[in-house]
Amino acid sequence: MAPPNSFLWSRRIFLTLLTGFVLVPVYVMVSSSLKPLADVSGKFRWIPSGLTIRPYIDIWSTVPLARYFVNSLIVAGAATVCSVVIAVFAAYAVSRYEFRGKRTFTVTVLSTQMFPGILFLLPLFLIYVNIGNATGIALFGSRGGLILTYLTFSLPFSIWMLIGYFDSVPRDLDEAALVDGCGPLGALFRVVVPAAIPGIVAVAVYAFMTAWGEVLFASVMTNDTTRTLAVGLQGYSTLNNVYWNQIMAASLVVSVPVVAGFLLLQRYLVAGLTAGAVK
C-alpha cells in the first residue's frame, strides 16, 4: 500500500533539512581544507576563491602529524584487540555458565558505564606514577598506560553487547561441540566466536572509535613522543596564526580511516545492536 502524499512530502522536507544539517560541517571541512590560508582567514565563502592541495602537504611539517598518527594507530589498535579478546572470554563465561557472583559482575560492569571519566583521571594518574616509581614500568606518559586505560573504556559496552550476542547463538551448537570432544575453549573458538562474528566486529568498531576519539586522558597522560592525534591537532593554532585550512585538512586525514571503516562495517554494527541491545 503506497503511503499518502502528505507523508511523502513531510518525509522529503524532513530528510532534506536533516541532510543539510549533517552535511554542512562536512562540506566546511572538505572545502576549507582545499583553500589557501588567505581565504580561510577572511570572511567565510561557500565557494573557494582558489583551490590548492598545499594544506595537505603542509600538515605533515607544521606538526609531526605522522608520529601522532602512528601513536594513535598503535594505541587504538592495541586497545581494540585486547578489549575484544578480553570481552569475548568474559561474555562467554556469563552467557554459558552459572557461577557465584555472576550478577554482581554484570551489575558492576554495567555501572562503570555511568562513572564520569573525570572521576578517575587524577587517581589513575597517581596510580600510574606510583606503579612507575615502584616497579620502573613507565605507564604514565607511555602508550602502554593509554592502551590500558582505553581498553577498559570500551570493555563494559563490549561485554554487555557480546553477552546478548552469544545468548542468541543456539546453545545446542556448542553443546554438540562439547559432546564431540571439544574443550570449553574449543567450543568457544570453533563454534560460538564464528557464529557471533557480526557482534564481535561491532564491538571492535566501537572500541576503536572510542580510543581514536578520546581527548581527556590523551591530553593529560601523553608526552611529546607519545602524543595522539586528539592532542596533536591543537598544534595548528599558534600565537600568530590559526592555520584553519591545515586544521581542516588534518581533521579530514584523521577522520577518513575511522569513517571509512565504520561505513564499511556499519551493517555489522546494526546487526550487533539488534542482537545485543534490542530484545
Binding site: P25, V40, I86, M114, F120, L126, L155, L252
Partner: protein
C-alpha cells in the same frame, strides 16, 4: 549499552535452566573443579582491568575527597592532611563562590542534558520512522547520517569551532551577511550564546546513535502488525501511536538512559569547543570539575565534587530503572 533489563532477564531465565555443559560431561572430580573454576578464569582479565582502572581509582578518589589535597602534596598524596568533610562542605555551600559555581554548573548540565537528549531522541526517532520503508537512496542517506557519529570527536568539534568563529565563521556569515537576522556578528564561543552552540554540536553528534538504535528496534516489529492495523482502517498516525511507539518502549528506555549518562558526563565536546575553561552559560560539570582540579589545583575539592556527581548519577539511574521496570510490569499484565 546493552541492557540491564536484557541481562537481568537472561540470568533469571538461565538460573531455571540446568547448566548444560556440566551436565553433558561426567561427574569426574578433576573435570568438575576445572569447570567450576573456568568461568572465573575467563572473567579474570576483565575483572583485573576493571579493578585497576575503574574500581581502585574510584576508591582512591573517595579517599582523596576527604583530604586537603593541593599541588604541594601531589607527589606524595598519602601524606596530605585529612580534612574530614571540609571538601564536601565547600562544594555544597551554595552561598560561597565555589559552591555557587558548582550549583550553577550542575543546573546548566541538567538543562543542557535534558534538551540534548530530547532533541537527539526526537530527530533519531523521526528519521528512523521516515526511513522504515525502502525508497530510492535510502542506503546512501543512512550511511550519510552515520557520519557525525563516526567522525572522531576532536575533528568534528574543531570543525564546529571554525564554523562558530566570530570573523571568519560560516554561522555568522549565514546569519548576518546572508540572512541579515542579526544586527552585528555574534560571539558563539563566549557569552550566553555558547550554550546554544554546545547544544547544536551535541545534537549533531548524538542523534545518529539514537537513529541507529531505533532503526534496529524497528526491524524487530513484525510487519503483520501493520498489515492487520491497515486492514482495520488505522491511519499512519494511529499505527505510529498504537504499534510503533509501544513496541519501541524497551528500546527507548535503554536508549534514553544511555544518552543521558553519555551527555551528562561528556567531557570531549565542551573541552574541544571551549578549552580548559568553559563560558559560564555552557559550563558543563565534567569540565567544571576538571577546571577545579587541574587549573586551580585543588584536587581534594575536585574529588569531592566528582563523588557528589557520582552519587547523583547513581540515584537518578536507580530511580529511572525502578520506574521503568515497574512501568513495564504493569504494561505486561
Amino acid at each position: 549499552m546493552t541492557t540491564t533489563t536484557a541481562a537481568s532477564a537472561d540470568s533469571g531465565e538461565r538460573t531455571v535452566r540446568k547448566d548444560s555443559p556440566g551436565a553433558a560431561r561426567g561427574p569426574r572430580r578433576a573435570g568438575r573443579i576445572r569447570r567450576i573454576g573456568l568461568p572465573y578464569l575467563l572473567l579474570l582479565p576483565a575483572l583485573l582491568l576493571e579493578l585497576l582502572v575503574h574500581l581502585v581509582p574510584m576508591v582512591i578518589g573517595i579517599v582523596m575527597s576527604f583530604k586537603e589535597l593541593t599541588q604541594f602534596y601531589i607527589r606524595d598524596w598519602g601524606t596530605a592532611p585529612w580534612s574530614g568533610f571540609d571538601n564536601y562542605k565547600i562544594s555544597v555551600d551554595f552561598s560561597a563562590p565555589v559552591g555557587e559555581a558548582l550549583l550553577h554548573s550542575f543546573l546548566v548540565t541538567v538543562g543542557f542534558t535534558l534538551l540534548s537528549v530530547g532533541l537527539c531522541w526526537l530527530i533519531g526517532t523521526a528519521a528512523a520512522i521516515y526511513m522504515q520503508d525502502t525508497f530510492r537512496g535510502r542506503g546512501l542517506l543512512r550511511a550519510l547520517f552515520l557520519v557525525p557519529y563516526a567522525l572522531p570527536v576532536y575533528a568534528a568539534v574543531i570543525t564546529w569551532v571554525f564554523m562558530f568563529q566570530h570573523d571568519n565563521g560560516l554561522v555568522n556569515h549565514v546569519l548576518h551577511d546572508q540572512l541579515h537576522l542579526t544586527d552585528k556578528p555574534s560571539f558563539w564561543l563566549i557569552g550566553d550564546n555558547s550554550f546554544y552552540a554546545l547544544l547544536v554540536v551535541s545534537v549533531w553528534k548524538g542523534w545518529p546513535f539514537a537513529f541507529l538504535i531505533i532503526m534496529a528496534g524497528l526491524q524487530n516489529i513484525p510487519g503483520e502488525l501493520y498489515e492487520a492495523a491497515a486492514l482495520d482502517g488505522a491511519g499512519l498516525w494511529q499505527q505510529l501511536r498504537r504499534i510503533t511507539l509501544p513496541s519501541l518502549r524497551a528500546v527507548n528506555q535503554v536508549l534514553i538512559l544511555v544518552l543521558f549518562l553519555w551527555t551528562f558526563n561528556d567531557f570531549n565536546t565542551p573541552f574541544v569547543l571551549f578549552g580548559r575553561t568553559a563560558p559560564e552559560s555552557a559550563d558543563l560539570i565534567s569540565v567544571h570539575i576538571y577546571q577545579a582540579s587541574f587549573v586551580t589545583w585543588n584536587f581534594g575539592t575536585g574529588s569531592a565534587m566528582s563523588v557528589l556527581l557520582l552519587l547523583f548519577l547513581l540515584v537518578v539511574t536507580g530511580a529511572y530503572l525502578l520506574l521503568t521496570s515497574r512501568g513495564r510490569k504493569t504494561a505486561d499484565v
